[in-house]
């Protein structure tokens, strides 16, 4: 199977690409519009320099060549969400070309090549009215800056496609280029799939799949399409695989042919006369390159080396820049890296699982790194048990209180004081004279039973390690005397 991806990512600029309307998500319909992005008669586009910076940044982060001069073109077609009746895009000469991302596959690292990255403007959004046979149009999205990233057909499995998308999202998010959230629409992906028989050098017929709304959709659609095409090939009906665009129906779990138009679109691309060439000089490239943060791969290496973490743990922590920074902050408060990693990758992520999108986006980490550090230290110092610590963590996520406050409110403080513990042990031993008898007779396993009693007597608050230590001391004393 041969897979290529076409990805659109919304850039994190403050304003739209050709006017100064805010590029924010979720505003009241048609609030963020102006004569320019509505395409009112007489208006002209003015390029937002921030969009160029982010496009170049994306190119650098994805190992592309940045073209010193690139140009905008008009893509002409009629649709209600397209105010000017054309989209301003870069067809003939894109801003970046020939890049790559390394992904991890079962067979090791693999380079997925990127053919081009270009800038273009987004269209508005059509919404079907609920109570009447009408379509409503919201132009807030019209003019939002997009980069389109086109890969070479280098992927061969749905896993590789998913790995590519995760890696791409990670990089773009890291560099602050895009939020890359498929569910919110800031990342869109179309897939091109073809299947060819092994040994056949000729590429099979390419099928385009649209309407993919999550990474899981992408994987499932590819897998389903593979099965469909393979079935046709194997039953000698390869002629039925036609070059077409199909729609992924998540409900039905299959790709369906889209309504074909009578003629294929001729977009009549021609150079946009209202905009000059986009010139990017070496100085600009250098300044943007300096702005690039440490990217995921580098971070994983550094975490593994400097913090002595396993590549697996490092990988999880580095998945999101947010999370990686959070981890380093916690460490900076004096927590052992391994402990911090463990708490974050296991406990914290488990809590956050409910809040993440299926593509693994990080919702806001609602816990303060200082608080988490304090909590971890308390557990290590034995002030509370590990179990109690997990409960505190969950509370921390929900409330705005400090660990200390929560521990006090819920009375989770662990008993670690020797005097106090010894008191309890004394009681327990006194109440369980027969158990003590068994111990004296050589049954070492009675320890766990006695530990259970101690934990019960202390309502779970006894510091298990300390209690064990003291119990053994007491028992030894009893044995000897």
């Amino acid at each position: 199977m041969i897979i290529g991806l076409e990805i659109h990512a919304e850039l994190n600029t403050k304003s739209k690409i050709f006017c100064s309307c805010p590029a924010e998500f979720g505003a009241e319909p048609n609030k963020n519009t102006c004569p320019v992005c509505l395409g009112l008669p007489g208006t002209l586009p003015v390029l937002n320099k921030e969009a160029v910076r982010l496009a170049v940044k994306a190119g650098l982060a994805l190992n592309c060549r940045i073209n010193a001069s690139s140009r905008f073109d008009r893509k002409n077609y009629f649709y209600p969400d397209l105010p000017k009746g054309y989209q301003i895009t870069q067809y003939y000469s894109p801003i970046c070309e020939n890049g790559f991302i390394d992904i991890e596959t079962a067979q090791g690292a693999k380079k997925i090549h990127i053919s081009r990255i270009h800038m273009e403007e987004d269209a508005g959004k059509l919404i079907h009215a609920e109570d009447e046979p009408a379509t409503l149009i919201d132009y807030n999205r019209a003019g939002i800056p997009l980069i389109e990233i086109v890969t070479e057909p280098d992927m061969n499995t749905s896993d590789e496609a998913a790995a590519f998308l995760k890696a791409l999202k990670s990089i773009l998010e890291y560099a602050g280029i895009s939020d890359c959230r498929m569910e919110q629409g800031s990342l869109r992906c179309d897939v091109n799939v073809s299947v060819r028989e092994p040994g056949n050098r000729k590429f099979g017929t390419k099928v385009e799949i649209k309407n993919l709304n999550s990474f899981r959709d992408v994987q499932k659609a590819i897998e389903w399409e593979q099965r469909r095409q393979e079935a046709l090939l194997m039953t000698g009906r390869s002629g039925e695989i036609i070059r077409e665009t199909r729609r992924w129906d998540a409900f039905k779990g299959e790709t369906l042919p889209m309504r074909t138009k009578e003629d294929t679109d001729d977009y009549r691309y021609f150079p946009e006369p209202d905009l000059p060439l986009v010139i990017v000089d070496n100085e600009l490239i250098r300044s943007i390159s300096d702005e690039l943060p440490e990217l995921p791969r580098q971070k994983i290496e550094r975490f593994a080396k400097d913090y002595m973490l396993s590549r697996y743990d490092a990988g999880i922590l580095a998945r999101s820049r947010h999370l990686a920074d959070f981890f380093e902050e916690v460490v900076s408060f004096g927590v052992q890296p391994k402990e911090a990693a463990n708490w974050i990758t296991v406990e914290l992520l488990r809590l956050m699982k409910n809040n993440t999108d299926t593509d693994g986006s990080m919702a806001e980490i609602t816990i303060n790194s200082k608080d988490l550090a304090e909590l971890i230290k308390m557990v290590i110092e034995g002030k509370i048990s590990r179990q109690a610590g997990k409960e505190v963590l969950s509370d921390l996520a929900a409330s705005g209180r400090t660990p200390g406050q929560i521990i006090e409110e819920r009375g989770l403080a662990q008993i670690s004081g020797e005097e106090e513990l010894n008191e309890i042990i004394k009681c327990v031993l006194a109440e369980n004279a027969d158990a003590v008898m068994e111990y004296k007779n050589g049954n070492m396993k009675i320890n766990s039973f006695l530990m259970g009693c101690i934990m019960k007597a202390s309502k779970g608050k006894a510091n298990p390690n300390k209690a064990k230590e003291l119990l053994e001391k007491a028992l030894t004393y009893l044995r000897l005397f």
């Binding site: 002409n76 009746g85 006369p273 209202d274």
Partner: protein, 513 residues
């Protein structure tokens, strides 16, 4: 000065009268409005007349004058604006059904600058629909007649603006020029019209026809007024990425940087392209223009005939490029957001198709179809790319010419103003007629379109009258951003010719003449 008719006064003279309290702004504006009211019925220059807002603005300026304030370089001067230039709160239709009732929420930058200089918008003028045409007969709103002979066309597409100035309905007007649409009507109506260098005046607010060829430019009854308007409007605009940075701005001393207009033209090198004086040009026109060339020589210029084969090739390249860009620029008129929308539709395709079929006139549709074809995968290389290449060649030829010459002199139109015969003038080819009305109309642009391809500044002014009393215009062209040379030559010629400011006598009494 009161005995001098306003129509013959320059902006400077009117301003002096304001300051000396010879008359008030309100008096002048009322005078103009009255004249429009009584005489525009037979000329038809205006689509919209802005009585209330103009009088209100006039009142405000009078108040400021009373306080001794400076009301600006164009303070109290009435300007008519072509109806494809956006004016905030004032209907702007492009003389098309598709924009009937459309009211822009913003002013074009050129309009904004005029207002900031104190000018008063007196009305919106008639034009060929979406600026496509050379006689203003393609308007979907009304007919405009040439004030010099009401049976003749005023030229186009800025026919209304030219007629308004010629008939004394405004002191200045704004036109637009994509292939000659300021210069040709200026010459048909005996007024001055300037197509500036591409990028000298911002296109923001100019409803686009062909983006790389469109220009806004001033029209007036004399050279100095035209220069004054140009100076106010020119300069870089952040809203227009194609506007030029290196346009000289007004002199800091406050004096016009065209004050050297009066210096004379001794030593000015004038080129006369011989291709403009062949059989395609009317004899009377050729004679009048060449006579003016002789006058320039008399005034000290070095005048020389030479070959400049840009005009014929330029015309077809212009038609292809302008139609291509127009087909894209006019896609936004789909009935969804503003303007006309058909009542008869069942789905989105029918809505858009019906709106455009019913809303656009024949000439507009013709050019959209042509433009769509030359951009299609079938036509792109054969037509559009070739036209762009040819355009580049023409630019080179001009660049070469302007090494040897400071200005060029040509006719503005190959023919004299012709009869209004709407159907025949706008008809496609039919049996028996050698060339269709459309083709004849298209050739009106032959001496002007090449300048649009090269982005060069060019000015049209009256250089004489025909035997039947129709104005004959000539065109002066210069190198990029050399408008000062144009004004210098034009001013000297105007002085020498002594026919500036003469206004047509219209049917019905004139209040001021």
């Amino acid at each position: 000065m009161r005995h001098l008719p306003i129509g013959h006064m320059t902006i400077d003279e009117i301003k002096k009268c304001y300051i000396n309290k010879e008359f008030s702004v309100k008096e002048i504006i009322s005078g103009y409005l009255q004249r429009i009211d009584s005489l525009d019925g037979c000329v038809g220059a205006f689509i919209t007349v802005c009585d209330d807002t103009a009088l209100k603005a006039a009142g405000e300026l009078d108040e400021r004058l009373a306080l001794g304030e400076d009301i600006g370089p164009l303070g109290g001067i009435p300007v008519a604006i072509k109806d494809n230039i956006c004016t905030r709160g004032i209907e702007t239709t492009c003389a098309s059904k598709v924009l009937a009732g459309y009211i822009p929420p913003y002013d074009a930058t050129a309009v904004k600058r005029l207002k900031e200089a104190g000018a008063i918008i007196i009305g919106k003028t008639n034009m060929d629909e979406f600026a496509m045409g050379s006689s203003t007969e393609n308007s979907a709103v009304k007919l405009t007649r040439n004030p010099w002979d009401l049976k003749k066309v005023p030229g186009g597409s800025s026919g209304g603006s030219a007629a308004a100035v010629a008939a004394g309905f405004a002191q200045l007007s704004l036109g637009t020029d994509t292939g000659g649409s300021i210069r040709q009507p200026a010459s048909f109506c005996g007024v001055v019209g300037l197509k500036p260098t591409y990028g000298a005046i911002s296109r923001y607010g100019l409803i686009a026809f062909a983006s790389s060829l469109d220009h806004i430019g001033p029209m007036a009854r004399n050279i100095k007024d035209c220069a004054a308007a140009f100076e106010v409007m020119r300069g870089y605009d952040t809203h227009d990425s194609t506007s030029a940075h290196n346009v000289p701005s007004s002199g800091s001393s406050g004096a016009s940087c065209f004050s050297d207009m009066e210096e004379g033209i001794k030593g000015l090198r004038v080129g006369v392209p011989e291709e403009c004086f062949g059989t395609a040009t009317d004899n009377e026109v050729a004679d009048a223009v060449l006579a003016s060339a002789k006058l320039l020589e008399k005034l000290g210029a070095k005048v020389e005939k030479f070959s400049l084969p840009v005009f014929d090739p330029g015309l077809s390249a212009y038609q292809i490029i302008s139609s291509a860009e127009a087909s894209s620029n006019l896609s936004r008129y789909d009935g969804i957001r503003y303007g006309y929308r058909t009542d008869d539709f069942r789905d989105i395709d029918e809505l858009m198709t019906g709106t455009r079929t019913e809303g656009f006139g024949r000439e507009v549709k013709r050019r959209i179809m042509l433009g769509t074809y030359v951009l299609s995968s079938n036509g792109y290389d054969a037509y559009y790319m070739k036209a762009l290449q040819r355009s580049r060649k023409i630019r080179d030829l001009f660049e070469n010419a302007f090494r040897s010459y400071d200005i060029l002199i040509t006719p503005a139109s190959p023919v004299l103003p012709y009869d209004i015969r709407k159907e025949e003038n706008t008809s496609p080819a039919s049996e028996g007629s050698a060339a269709s009305g459309q083709q004849r109309q298209a050739r009106s642009d032959i001496y002007t379109a090449a300048m649009n391809l090269a982005g060069l500044p060019a000015l049209s002014m009256q250089c004489g009258f025909s035997k039947t009393g129709l104005p004959i215009g000539l065109q002066l062209a210069a190198g990029h951003f050399a408008e000062d040379k144009l004004f210098r030559a034009a001013f000297s010629l105007e002085l020498e010719l002594g026919i500036a400011g003469r206004m047509p006598l219209l049917k019905g009494a004139d209040q001021y003449v």
